[in-house]
């Protein structure tokens, strides 16, 4: 049995057991038990929403420590374009790429460049007649996992092309091997990540057996090093490869704009994504060709592991997008990249909501669930540790909770008990009862 790897984890020390995360989780994957938030592994999609909302910073993402780069002889950084929006004192993208060389990396390759190749491949794919439209972008792994657990009917709509990150790692490894004769096992490729979902997709990929990326360092963790190094860059070598269409992927809508079609829809923020996928599942969006779905508000620039405020970052990156537009990097020819970009395997429906394998038992459980739910107060207060009353009812029928976990139910029980006690108290054993002997005898 394969276990689940999740980047999103809990810092027990910091968790106060409050209800913030359970209420925001889009897949109802968190419960508070014994004063601590527990993540239900099979439900978590690593969207990072809980990391963002936790006021005590008790939710964190497992990423690789910077020191891991020293496990490899030849160290390569592949930064997400989101990184470009993080620094105030950054002159140009090239300036930032050069900073990587001062902090210990031997080479740097832009994920934005690989994004352009994916854009072109997507364009080609969209020309085909036999594809299921609208295509749903697979750039955000949290959304792919969301579809897996909540929208099984949309699995066929997912764009099953490699992610820019994977492709970047492949390209850079191939190039180094061919052009510089560096043995593949000596190369360590590290993704500089804005989010937890990407880390999970490296450690536990769904589209292939093994990721080509060797590690993920969060933008947060590498920020200070780069910040200092930016001040030390004296001579810049030319490292820029990506044009503006690739950099723009950091913004919501960036991937769509690169496709040259007007007929797209870009949605960001996991709860907004859910609304759109609902509409799509109801056959309401059949007139759209491409749907870009990003779990974080604002797109990757709003990632939970970024440093800069989303709106500030947007302004910053706009400058570099405009610069790239003017520079017009030599018309990149994609013909030299002859990669099979299709996924090596498919994602499957994970029926996490199913109450039981057996339909009849599931029916019984659902019946009980609905009747329990009807008797709960419907306040969705979260004090029981479940995100809402219905979720508590679900936990009860699954055997993971009790009705008295609801503080209102508990109070009711206490009151009933008190009434009962009063009643019992008022009845005296006959031998001790000195009140009204005649009345007592009548009863006998």
């Amino acid at each position: 049995m394969k276990g689940y790897f999740h980047s999103v984890t809990l810092d027990e020390e910091k968790c106060k057991g409050c209800t913030n995360c359970i209420k925001r989780c889009p897949t109802e994957a968190i419960r508070v038990r014994k004063g601590k938030a527990r993540i239900i592994a099979e439900r978590c999609i690593d969207c990072g929403e809980c990391i963002r909302v936790c006021p005590y910073h008790a939710k964190k993402a497992i990423t690789d420590p910077f020191e891991n780069i020293y496990n490899y002889k030849f160290k390569v950084a592949i930064p997400a374009p989101t990184l470009y929006g993080q620094f105030k004192y950054m002159r140009s993208v090239n300036h930032l790429l050069n900073a990587f060389k001062l902090i210990g990396f031997d080479h740097v390759y832009e994920v934005a460049r690989a994004a352009e190749i994916i854009s072109n491949a997507t364009k080609e794919l969209m020309k085909k007649k036999d594809i299921q439209k609208p295509l749903i972008s697979s750039a955000c792994p949290a959304v792919v996992r969301l579809i897996q657990v909540r929208f099984p009917n949309l699995i066929d709509n997912i764009l099953k092309l490699e992610s820019p990150m994977e492709l970047a790692a492949k390209i850079v490894k191939d190039e180094l091997e061919k052009e510089k004769n560096i043995p593949r096992e000596d190369i360590g490729v590290f993704f500089i990540t804005p989010c937890a979902a990407k880390v999970t997709s490296i450690k536990a990929p769904y589209e292939s057996e093994k990721s080509c990326v060797d590690g993920a360092i969060s933008i947060k963790d590498i920020y200070l090093k780069l910040f200092s190094a930016l001040g030390e860059v004296k001579q810049e070598e030319d490292l820029v490869k990506a044009g503006f269409t690739g950099i723009r992927w950091a913004n919501s809508g960036g991937e769509s704009l690169a496709l040259g079609t007007e007929n797209f829809l870009a949605v960001d923020g996991i709860h907004n994504v859910i609304s759109i996928l609902e509409e799509l599942e109801n056959d309401k969006l059949e007139d759209v060709d491409f749907i870009e779905t990003l779990a974080c508000q604002g797109g990757c620039l709003g990632g939970p592991l970024t440093v800069e405020n989303l709106y500030v970052a947007k302004t910053r990156i706009k400058k570099f997008i405009d610069m790239a537009k003017q520079n017009v990097v030599q018309e990149n020819s994609d013909n030299i990249y002859d990669y099979d970009l299709l996924w090596k395997r498919n994602v499957e429906y994970k029926p996490i909501l199913k109450l039981d394998e057996d339909f009849e038992i599931a029916m019984k459980k659902l019946e009980t669930l609905e009747s329990i739910n009807e008797n709960l107060p419907g306040l969705d207060c979260g004090a029981c540790g479940a995100p809402n009353c219905r979720a508590l009812a679900e936990d009860i029928v699954r055997g993971n909770a009790n009705e008295t976990d609801c503080i209102f139910k508990l109070r009711e029980k206490v009151r009933d008990l008190t009434v009962q006690m009063m009643e019992i108290e008022s009845v005296m054993p006959p031998v001790m009862d000195k009140s009204d002997t005649n009345k007592k005898e009548k009863n006998d």
């Binding site: 109450l355 009849e360 029916m363």
Partner: protein, 141 residues
């Protein structure tokens, strides 16, 4: 076959597009909890959603009754609206009596009833002008 049947009722509010579809969402969730195959869930959800929208557009709301069990799902949408004068015509794709204000919102393309028919395994419509309409959608499990 099981003898247990789950019944749920929902109110379809008048003139509120944002709430229409809520009932079908609830039903979708229940069916997923029962482990009903995704394709079947989709059939029920779309057919029910279209019928809900119809009740909102044409009839000032109504009620949705859902019955799961005995190997099938029956969704009954009842309203006390104007009724459908020519049902055969209404079943044709593209035919719509929705006013412009509703078409401007992207509804009323005349695909409602045809879509319901497409996704329902059995469709039974009882309608009387001036009295209302009852749409009974059956999807087999």
């Amino acid at each position: 076959m099981s003898n247990s049947i789950i019944r749920q009722s929902y109110v379809i509010p008048a003139d509120d597009f944002s709430l229409a579809g809520e009932a079908s969402s609830c039903v979708k969730k229940m069916l997923n909890q029962l482990g009903v195959p995704p394709q079947t869930v989709k059939k029920v959800a779309i057919a029910m959603y279209e019928a809900e929208i119809n009740a909102v557009i044409h009839a000032g709301g109504g009620t949705a009754d859902v019955e799961i069990g005995g190997g099938k799902i029956i969704v009954t949408i009842s309203d006390e609206g104007p009724g459908i004068p020519d049902l055969e015509l209404a079943m044709q794709e593209g035919y719509s009596t929705a006013p412009d204000s509703i078409r401007e919102m992207g509804f009323g393309a005349g695909m409602g009833l045809p879509n319901i028919k497409r996704y329902a395994d059995k469709l039974d419509i009882k309608t009387e002008v001036g009295k209302g309409t009852i749409v009974e959608i059956t999807v087999f499990l």
